[in-house]
Symmetry: C2
Subunit: 282 residues, 2 copies
């Protein structure tokens, strides 16, 4: 009887994980990173689903075809407004609805991809553009810390072409914290997600087989404790006024004498808090 | 005779402009901004070409179909490497080659788009991913200030959904300079482009018809002098060492006592130079 209860508790506690995976080849490092996550999280009792975007031939363009039936205003077609209405009326295309169901069910979403041009590949940008519909993923009132997905976690796991030294505040590509801000704050946290620190695989294509194995080993080790990790810090929405969404004077004042800004983007004209987009507790 | 010479000089001086345009609707504010640019630049004697990505049904996903004939390693397909080889051998798909020809011919490229999720729409990200092929747009030696397109100019012209106050260093979305860094440094300047200050149309969908008209009027005025504008500042490639691409000690030292960092990304742990991604001379 105790065993049955334990089993029920385990099933109830079992987390659902969605991996949104964007690499063309099953022989790639990204595939190995994805496979490692599936294996490690399944072994912990999680249900893991994978959206393999290239294999699905996922449509990356935001068009009127994303709406079943007629659009409201064909001449002045506005994607955000039209898809919001279509979502309300259950008229989004099936491929979008299917992804939205996966998002709704997931406790944690891992985005696994090779960094293309300081961002996600077009096919993954298309997933963000099309799946995170207005109404479904955010609304005027439900954004950032009050966001719709505030009880879910999300994280970026990606490979770079550049060395780590190139993505530092003194490196040619600049501070990786800056490059991550639009993705982690502007997409993930905007929808409310608790953002786990990114998993960055620095230039595996330039690394020795041993170094690649060691990178994957590090990921496997991290995966053991991933579900218990603390998320990155962002500023609560109620620190901003409701009209211009400017930081409230009392919050500003409280941080006036501090050395660093609040976040990479909301830096108050001060030094950026180091590693704030890379490590929890910074 | 003088008139003929003048005509020849004019034709030789006439600039070629490419507008890469990413909006679904010809009735949109983005369409009006694009049309204003075509008209104003044509009137100045420029040859203006438009890549209307949605109308072209432009493919946004980076796949093996971008290569004519067999790929070199189907099992371990690596997009960057395979497309570089295909470019060298003239085996890129026709839609990519066509866009590359337009880029080669252009003196100035204007990217006109609505900002989606703190970045470009998926269809435009796909254009960057697929058209800016390794070898064609950059190489190990030819990047940033030594980049392949260093004699060309490029700029972003875009609409936001958010108000300007929200994209400030004290606003909820954070400093627009940070959001623009990956696009302007990581894509445009990486390929060598001289980057003109962005044209930002703040939340036209929330604005009155008069305010929208006034925004377009401001753009028309700017277009009169656009070809003579000074570009944004970035750090010359030779300020970095060739191994780890870290800022050279003497350059670092020279800037040690300065109040602000060098750029948004290469901030040296100091305050960000204000507006450096928004205005020339900052």
């Amino acid at each position: 009887m105790d065993e049955t209860l334990e089993l029920v508790a385990e099933v109830l506690a079992a987390k659902k994980v969605l991996i949104v995976y964007a690499h063309q080849s099953s022989g790639s490092f990204n595939a190995a990173a994805k496979d490692a996550a599936v294996k490690a999280l399944t072994a912990q009792g999680c249900t893991v689903d994978v959206s393999d975007l290239y294999a699905m031939n996922f449509k990356a363009t935001a068009t009127a075809e994303d709406i079943k039936g007629d659009v409201k205003d064909a001449e002045h077609f506005r994607y955000l407004k039209e898809t919001q209405q279509a979502w309300e009326e259950g008229r989004l295309s099936d491929d979008i609805t299917k992804e939205q169901t996966k998002v709704t069910e997931a406790d944690l979403i891992i985005f696994q991809f090779p960094m293309y041009w300081f961002s996600v590949p077009g096919i993954l940008k298309g997933w963000f553009d099309r799946v995170l519909t207005s109404g479904f993923a955010f609304s005027q009132d439900k954004r950032y810390s009050l966001g719709i997905f505030k009880d879910k976690q999300a994280m970026l796991s990606f490979t770079t072409g550049s060395l780590e030294s190139m993505f530092s505040p003194t490196g040619i590509n600049g501070d990786m914290n800056v490059t991550l801000w639009p993705l982690q704050n502007g997409i993930l946290h905007y929808c409310g997600f608790q953002v786990l620190a990114p998993q960055i695989f620095w230039a595996p294509s330039c690394a020795s087989p041993e170094a690649r194995t060691s990178m994957l080993e590090g990921w496997r080790t991290r995966l053991q404790g991933l579900l218990e990790e603390k998320p990155l810090s962002f500023i609560p929405l109620d620190s901003f006024d409701e009209k211009g969404f400017q930081l409230k004077p009392d919050v500003h004042e409280k941080h006036a004498s501090k050395e660093f800004g609040l976040t990479v983007g909301i830096h108050l004209g001060k030094r950026l808090p180091p590693h704030s987009q890379m490590k929890a507790g910074c």
